[in-house]
Amino acid sequence: MVEPILQVRDLVKHFAGNRPGEIIHAVNKVSFDLNPGETLGLVGESGSGKSTIGRCVVRLYRPTAGSIRFGDRDISTISEGQMRPLRKEIQIVFQDPYSALNPRMKVGNLIGELVKLHSDLDAPARRERVTALAARVHLNADLLTRYPNELSGGQLQRVCIARALATNPKVIVLDEPTSSLDLSVRAGILELLGELQRETGVAMLFISHDLETVQLVSHRILVLYLGSVVEDGPAEAVFAKPAHPYAQALLSADLPPDPDVVLDRQILQGEVPGPVHLPPGCPFAPRCPLSREDCTRAMPPLASVGANHHAACVRIADGTNDIRSAHASTGGDIHKKFQDQFVRRTT
């Protein structure tokens, strides 16, 4: 039985809102495990908290509550000074490679910085390592003397991946790594990531709103809504038979790039409300076509719906959780109360 490399339990992250006393409940008691060599996909829309979770894991944010165990150590409350040496083990790749890199540093130095910070290699050895890393991510060595703005998005993202790899980390968090790249370039990046995982056994937390991409790269999936996990399970299982009404709606809204696929969409009303005033009980209740009285009483616990597959819905117990069976939007009053907010989200 392999020990998970990352164990997150009841992670909570709140931010202070713009107005005094306002709290943004970005992440509300999220728990998951990440195993070595595995890719866990975090899926959700805006306000789901997926990016926040990623940033908490690499301690760019300090969790409000909960624990993050890396190996045998809880890193959720340690100081920045204590975290720094651990950063070589947990790295992150951001969405936009252009804004993630110092525009005044040459690409080679940007990669070399990671090597310099976490090893004692001298300059020539570092240069060698940088060249090796560039080759590993299929980046032309000529580009190492250029500045970020001279490279294309795809090339630059490879630089970011090289940086993340430089210290042989155990975990890499990828926050929408292909979302800002052109279609024709995304495939190459995903392929690279797969390659690297097979070679090094690194565990990946893959955060994305693009369902097709997540399905391709993930072993397991977490579906998030307003800071809570609504469904988790093996990627195939979740995509084939989503149990939670939100997951069903989300997956059905996906537009596959194939005109011959017949769409069976369950269109939801309204939008994700702001994370400031969370609805009581299940966060999805106000928009759920299947919501009923007991949904608002308390947050539904994660119920098992298959092998290692769970979803947090009260209707799983009696098997009435298929949203296609909803004829009219039930839940009337609950809807109205929360439709009233068209408060703009702060992401």
Partner: protein, 334 residues
């Protein structure tokens, strides 16, 4: 005669750099296509392909250093290129409207929503404020905004992304245009909201018998909401035709690469190394602009490829368009 006819449009950017050289970026290189009422045409391509530039050129919204250097844009028979601002304004906003990217920054932050809707109407027609207000509220209801009267008094910064996008659509449709251009109408919106907005657009266009042009980088949107599609690369339309045909039988190597790079196809057929640095619009190669990246480039490609008809309304700008099988095998010919 189609409602919108674009012929041989060339748009260039002329600038001077710090070394006092004048540099010309050829943003559009001979773009030609048509849109008729009842059609929803999708324009796809990567960054820098010229999709937004096409829309801006059509609408006459280019700012220096960009300008149209050649070509014609005819809307309902009237030539738009070279038209004076006043004449353009009679058509823009009334007959031909556009929704731009990033809805949250496209609304006037200092006016309430209702005021902007009223303004959009009274600028083009003689209407009383009351009548315009009522029409505005009706429009908001039509675009699916609940409690429309109240929303009319909202400020733009209070709106969520989806709400703002609906209001932009309302603004675009309030004067009953005959054609709508939507530039990345769903970028930045949540998936579940995208579905709502796209369905809304599709229904409105159908109900009002309008023509529409959707610019997007999302092939899924094109696959399910467009009747025809144009694939752009380096300022040219390299393939064009009915959506089903182009998806199932792409004839240009770039289109083939694009279709095969979607996650699903990768899962089916494995990865293929495609993509490369974007073309340098300051220095495009002679002949076919794609030849530096094309795995099938031959000597012939040094000459500009013609737009070959490959069946029905389907054309592709490649010397080998009619000699290629859909899965990319080349049948050798001279």
């Amino acid at each position: 005669m189609s409602l919108l006819e674009v012929r041989n449009l060339h748009t260039h950017f002329v600038s001077h750099d710090l070394n006092n050289r004048s540099r010309i970026a050829k943003g559009l290189n001979g773009v030609s296509f048509e849109v008729d009422k009842g059609e929803i045409v999708g324009i796809v391509g990567e960054t820098g392909a010229g999709k937004s530039l096409t829309a801006m050129s059509i609408m006459g919204l280019l700012q220096p250093p960009a300008r149209i250097v050649e070509g014609s844009v005819r809307f309902d028979g009237n030539e738009l290129v070279g038209l004076g601002v006043d004449d353009l304004n009679r058509i823009r906003g009334t007959e031909l409207t556009m929704i731009v990217q990033s809805p949250l920054t496209s609304l006037d932050p200092l006016s309430r929503v209702g005021k902007q809707l009223v303004r959009a109407q009274r600028e083009h027609r003689n209407m009383s404020s009351d009548a315009a207000w009522r029409a505005g509220a009706d429009m908001l209801a039509t675009v699916g905004i609940p409690d429309a009267e109240r929303r009319m008094r909202a400020w733009p910064h209070e709106l969520s992304g989806g709400m703002a996008q609906r209001i932009l659509i309302a603004l675009a449709l309030i004067n009953g245009p005959r054609m709508l251009i939507a530039d990345e109408p769903t970028t930045g919106l949540d998936v579940t909201v995208q579905a709502q907005i796209l369905d809304l657009l599709k229904n409105l266009v159908r109900d009002r018998d309008m023509a529409a042009m959707i610019i997007t980088h999302d092939l899924g949107v094109v696959a399910h909401y467009c009747t025809r599609m144009c694939v752009m690369f380096a300022g040219s339309i390299i393939e064009m035709g009915p959506v089903r045909q182009v998806f199932n039988d792409p004839r240009h190597p770039y289109t083939q690469a694009l279709i095969s790079s979607t996650p699903k196809r990768i899962a089916e057929k494995g990865y293929s190394q495609i993509g490369g640095p974007p073309p340098n619009l300051y220095d495009l190669p002679e002949g076919c602009h794609y030849r530096d990246r094309c795995s099938r480039a031959a000597d012939l490609c040094r000459t500009t490829p013609p737009l070959k008809n490959v069946g029905g309304n389907h054309v592709a700008m490649c010397h080998f368009a009619d000699k290629e099988a859909a899965d990319g095998t080349v049948t050798s010919h001279g």
